[in-house]
Subunit: 98 residues, 10 copies
């Protein structure tokens, strides 16, 4: 099942820059692992913000929560999850079955 | 450039069912054309609502507006457009360059 | 997977009372069928409103959408779906495994 | 009487992790006691957030407040309470009288 | 148990004035009955609006819903219910026990 | 003139507990004085929150502001004031004139 | 006591223009009477909208409601009332006592 | 003085298409006149909506209201006006003085 | 041109009381100067809050911004500016021309 | 492609004034560079706030994000981006082609 996930990072502007760099690097590494595992399939940056929209794929909300909460920046991230159903006109679905 | 587009159809519950069926069929046909043209790349239904999230690809907001307003149900649809920037960890971008 | 679903019926105050009674009866019958099928497990009325919260169980958002949109009053209902994950302290889960 | 209760924990991301672990353990223990006492009957995690929806049962709002405010994390929790009325189509009610 | 109830009447400006007068009179009569029965204990008009705040007293949300939905204008009223707990400094409680 | 007043206390979760206890005791004492003076006539706790709804009576907004701002916790309280008009069906008004 | 009152007129765009003109003229005449009686002391148009902010003066919310609801367009107007207290730095108050 | 003005047209989807075409043409003609008169200096379409952002220039809010309300579609348009002050880094201001 | 200005002071509850007193005194002195200069013509306190509504008069948004940002508490104040147009039924305008 | 960008600076009122001055100067210098490069074409101050609306021009959301995030105050700025399409009645477009 697919989920549209919006994330906004609430890192304090005066936070420790070294810790920030360490967390950002760890976040990117973890994101790669989640992508490898097929949990994150697309990721977009919201222009002008430290925020992203992501397309996630997980068997259910439990697996999704485990994946999201494994992100190193998780305690600083405000997350909104929108469950998605398939649409009969989805071009992506058509390609998969082609 | 990619856009995340949310659409909610405001068709009146007591609207003419024949006209509704005609418009829904025309909408699906037009969506297929937009998919063929590469303007719509993914489409998801919001469960429980006559609404969808779509991933659109267009050179700019002008081309996007022309595409969206070509939908037969356009006068009944409330549309929100979110511009998307590429994310360094996007698994989809990685696949394209692979 | 469980979903918390909020429904608010937007039936017009001056709508045809006969049609309303017919739809309400059909809605109750369909709700019973969905309960029998295990799709709706709990249902509460929001006091003072023609609205309810329901606990739904479905394999994914597709099955949920099919179930919700099968309700006779669906065109008049505004639906919000909240995906739920299991909580380690859930007393209900404990009872099931007991 | 049943209440739908939404809780969101506002623990600071840079809060003391030892104190956090202590409070989370105490919270789980207290949740178990409230479940044993029949005050909490179901509990779900909101995926992607340190938040939950709970189904609470209490004679009135006074008893509910005493129960909620007994949680060790209470000073950090934002709580919304929605009173629930019974619904004639509630499958849960049917099972109880069966 | 007490509830704070907010009501806003959505009668259409061009609605039939005769029917409106009939409903308003019936509403006042029903409100008197609910007051007699102890279900409504205070009622205030929101200045500038066809709206009111009321203090209701009912054993639970079921009895409250039955009372509210018995109002003749109910199909036109938007109702919000806030459950109330007793406050240790409530002057009204002090008077009752005096 | 009556006012419906909503108060939400924004005391920090990690605030000094001794100072908190001192302020809460002073708040209760001041609330009693305001009740004695007829400025606060009813007070309810919002279940699950450090918040209350109160029924205040004051000649005008000036007297109301003086009373509210005399509360020891005032700097931490977020206050919303709703002016109330008398309602022709108010059971409380009927009792007073009886 | 002074009140800040916001009014927004919800006249339908396709409403009868003759009836509209009649109501607008009656509204202006009634506004003049309320100004003469000292109930409305200032009135501003919100640019771009059929809406206004007004400064009203009335002994209490009852007198204010009687005045507002006497406006011929009242059934079409959405009204928000904000109670005002005197400010120690108010230049207007200084002029009055001068 | 410059104003940022947001306009959203609320024309009903089932409105008379002939009248709509007539109004749209008249709107474009009036927009040209306002541009000629220097009242509208820029105009952008909001993609996916019958809405626009405009940069208006007028001596004050009175002149702005006269201009906006002269639009043939005015009764159907929801308008929000944001007053603008000059910014020391405005590239447009620099060009004007160049 | 007149502006309706809403101000809410966000001074921290545990802020230095000496600095607070100094700023409040300086604020009152500056408010008097702005009143003398005709920039602030009325000022009201919002009951129960450290907030006010003010009627400001300035040639344009630039002059208004200079005046508002000259307030000593400006860095702590959240300000909303509503531009006002003259209303044909404004009693204040009538008095000025009388 | 043009974008309407709203920025609100969340600099803490008690922040270091020296650092603030340094950042504000650096921000102005960077804004000049972005203007020179044609990325920012207009900039307005929101009166009464540390906020601005800007008209930005960039090939896509990626270039826009790079430009915005290059601002020295970026970590303290809350940014909202609205994509803009050309409007057939835009006076600015007419001038360009003239």
């Amino acid at each position: 099942m697919e989920f549209l996930v919006h994330m906004e990072v609430g890192w304090p502007p005066d936070g420790d820059p070294v810790e920030r760099d360490r967390l950002v690097a760890a976040e990117a590494a973890r994101a790669d692992e989640l992508a490898e595992a097929g949990l994150v399939t697309r990721l977009w940056r919201v222009p002008g913000r430290w925020a992203n929209y992501g397309l996630w794929e997980a068997p259910d909300a439990d697996a999704l929560h485990v994946a999201i909460s494994s992100l190193p920046l998780f305690p600083w991230i405000d997350v909104d999850v929108i469950p998605l159903a398939t649409h009969p006109s989805d071009p992506g679905a058509r390609k998969r079955t082609a």
